[in-house]
Amino acid sequence: MLSVAGHVVVVVLGLVLSWVLAGPKVELDTPPIKATLVRLGKPRDEKLLPRKEEAPPPPKREAEPVPLPAPAAVPIPSKNAKPEKKARDERKSLFDALNKTARAAPPEELEGAADGDPHGDAAKQEGERYYALITSLVKRNYDVSDTIPEAERRTLHAVVAIRVGTSGELLDVQLKHGSGNALFDSAVLSSVKKTAPYPPPPAHLKDGLKSNGIAFDFTP
């Protein structure tokens, strides 16, 4: 009896271990979550035509200090010098007047939401904020060669699963569902890897992202 029970335990353990090693299950038929990160800004009137979404500007470099010019030598006026002071004063006053009226064009205000994210890249927020943030980051690295045939692009579909540590470190990357196109598969894996390290997950997502991870459903 004990021997039978022992055999049962070993068989069950073997089955269970094989399921565990296969990793968390990705349901390919379940519609993926769409998450977009709204930027900080004013909402755009929905009746207006859209503006082109621009990529966020690169971080500003600190300007190098400009050296002060050396003081100009003061010419010694000659006895017969003609008075040019009046003409110079008139020109200066004209330029000063023009400078006062000139106004730099106000910087264009990108639309978003009052509670938007400074790193946001969309006019509207959709879904869990952390998911929207990492979606936005992966998209920035989502480069695919333009030579993939048009006819093929319409059917390309790949799923990549990752696990993220509590500090945002990339623990694991797996191609769960290949597209059948080596160029596209390589591009989606690359986009996920280039994005690391990810932002540290919020408390309510930490454990899940470390143990089960998350998957990205890529289409062109």
């Binding site: 029970a5 049962v8 335990v9 069950v12 353990l13 269970v16 271990l17 399921w19 565990v20 990793g23 968390p24 299950k25 990705v26 349901e27 379940t30 993926p32 979550i33 769409k34 998450a35 929905e46 009746k47 207006l48 035509l49 859209p50 503006r51 082109k52 998911y131 990492i134 979606t135 992966v138 998209k139 989502y142 480069d143 695919v144 060669s145 333009d146 030579t147 993939i148 045939p149 048009e150 006819a151 093929e152 799923v159 699963a161 591009a187 989606v188 986009s191 899940g208 143990s211 089960n212 991870g213 998350i214 998957a215 990205f216 459903d217 890529f218 289409t219 062109p220």
Partner: protein, 426 residues
């Protein structure tokens, strides 16, 4: 008792690991052009030297404007211009070091009255020849040779026919008049279709040999058609003002707009102008600018029945099922339906009074902006594959034809003289 509990625990614990992962949608890939190096053509005899420059210019433009490649600047090339064209003769490290993924090498030679071009395509990282193709054309037309070879490269990568041997029509201002020209896809080799008087709104014939257009040669706008070298022939009169013709995808029918006092209606007819049928019927409103869906079953058009010009679709058979398509903006015009069927491109005036190009997805209604902050951009015309859009832009000062990808990337001017161009068709 302990053993069954232990078994249960061992079985149940891993189920935590079988919990589903959330799956996030990622779309909108940044399709980046492939970095391509195009070596200057080598000439195998003196007769090939003269057409080499024209050939080279056409080939470079084809690769640059099609949106598929990032053609690398020759100023940065490290290899000698006389480097050979076979894999054994090429120093692939030199090409890899400038960032090229692929390399094109060409050779030209003259055989009697024919100009022959041999093209080889290499993958730089692998140092491998991927494609070898030869073509011959009349020595008087080196640009045509370039287009044929470019098409071979395009088809190699995309498995689609390239745009390089297609034709366009456009209007060019000539003093007080407007002339219509038929040209190669890059605007070169232009030949007059309707020269003299005022001729506008051309529609390229499906076989690419001529155009139907609106002409004021008899005092009021009427439809005519003409092929290169032939006199224009009247198409539809209807006794009133007729304009804005569009051929159906199968070339058997035309749609156009007839103005009658305070309103304008969309009509269809056979391609020879017979069998006219009115599709819209809205008193006091204007309906114009028809464009056919690629299956020929629907027509998109502009109507101000809602108070300002918007884009609508209806059945091409009888005008039934009218449905408004655009709801953003208050001035949407010049629609063109993509041959792929999914998008309609149009000109719109935005809240800053700038004219720019947009597409609307016919099914989802999503509007995408293609141009912005670059002068006025108008009058889109899709390429036969739907991959490119031809349009006019004032960004360079005068209104000039440009081409871009269907999603607004790679906006390149046509390499033709400056002038006042309008209403192109492809």
């Amino acid at each position: 008792m302990r053993l069954p509990a232990l078994c249960l625990l061992v079985v149940l614990c891993p189920f935590a690991a079988l919990a589903e992962q959330p799956v996030l949608e990622i779309s909108g890939a940044n399709f980046r052009p492939m970095p391509l190096a195009v070596a200057a053509p080598l000439t195998q005899d003196d007769g090939a030297k003269k057409p080499a420059a024209e050939f080279d210019a056409a080939l470079m433009y084809d690769f640059t404007a099609c949106g598929l490649f990032q053609v690398l600047d020759r100023k940065g090339y490290l290899s000698d211009a006389k480097e050979g064209v076979t894999a054994t003769a090429i120093k692939f490290d030199n090409w890899a070091n400038i960032g090229a993924d692929s390399l094109v090498k060409t050779q030209l030679s003259v055989d009697g009255e024919l100009l022959r071009g041999d093209l080889r395509l290499f993958t730089v990282a692998a140092g491998r020849e991927e494609l070898k193709v030869s073509e011959s054309v009349s020595a008087k037309d080196p640009r045509r040779l370039a287009h044929k070879l470019a098409n071979a490269v395009y088809k190699h990568f995309t498995r689609e026919t390239g745009p390089f041997e297609t034709h366009i029509v456009f209007v060019k201002k000539n003093g007080a008049g407007r002339d219509i020209y038929l040209a190669d896809w890059d605007g070169r080799n232009a030949a007059g279709v309707a020269v003299g008087n005022i001729n506008v709104l051309p529609a390229l014939m499906p076989d690419g040999g001529g155009a139907a257009f609106t002409s004021y040669r008899r005092g009021k706008p009427e439809l005519f058609s003409a092929r290169v070298g032939q006199d224009p022939a009247p198409l539809v009169f209807a006794g009133r003002m007729v304009s804005g013709v569009a051929y159906s995808p199968d070339g058997k029918r035309i749609a156009y707009s007839v103005s009658d006092g305070e309103n304008a209606e969309v009509w269809t007819a056979a391609a020879d102008g017979s069998g006219q049928r009115k599709l819209t019927d809205t008193r006091y409103f204007l309906n114009s600018s028809p464009t056919w869906a690629p299956d020929g079953k629907r027509i998109a058009f502009v109507s101000n029945r809602a108070g300002n010009p918007q884009i609508y679709v209806m059945s091409s058979a009888d005008g039934s099922g009218v449905k408004r398509v655009t709801f953003q903006g208050n001035y949407n015009q010049t629609p063109d339906w993509s041959p792929r069927g999914d998008l309609i491109a149009f000109t719109a005036r935005d809240e800053r009074n700038a004219f720019d190009l947009f597409t609307i997805n016919v099914d989802s209604g999503k509007v995408t902006r293609l141009t912005q902050d670059s002068g006025n951009n108008e009058e889109p015309a899709f390429s036969p594959s739907g991959r490119l859009i031809l349009f006019t832009s004032t960004r360079g000062g005068t209104r000039h034809p440009y081409v871009m990808t269907f999603d607004g990337n790679n906006q390149v001017p046509l390499p033709i003289d400056k002038g006042d161009y309008s209403t192109p068709d492809w």
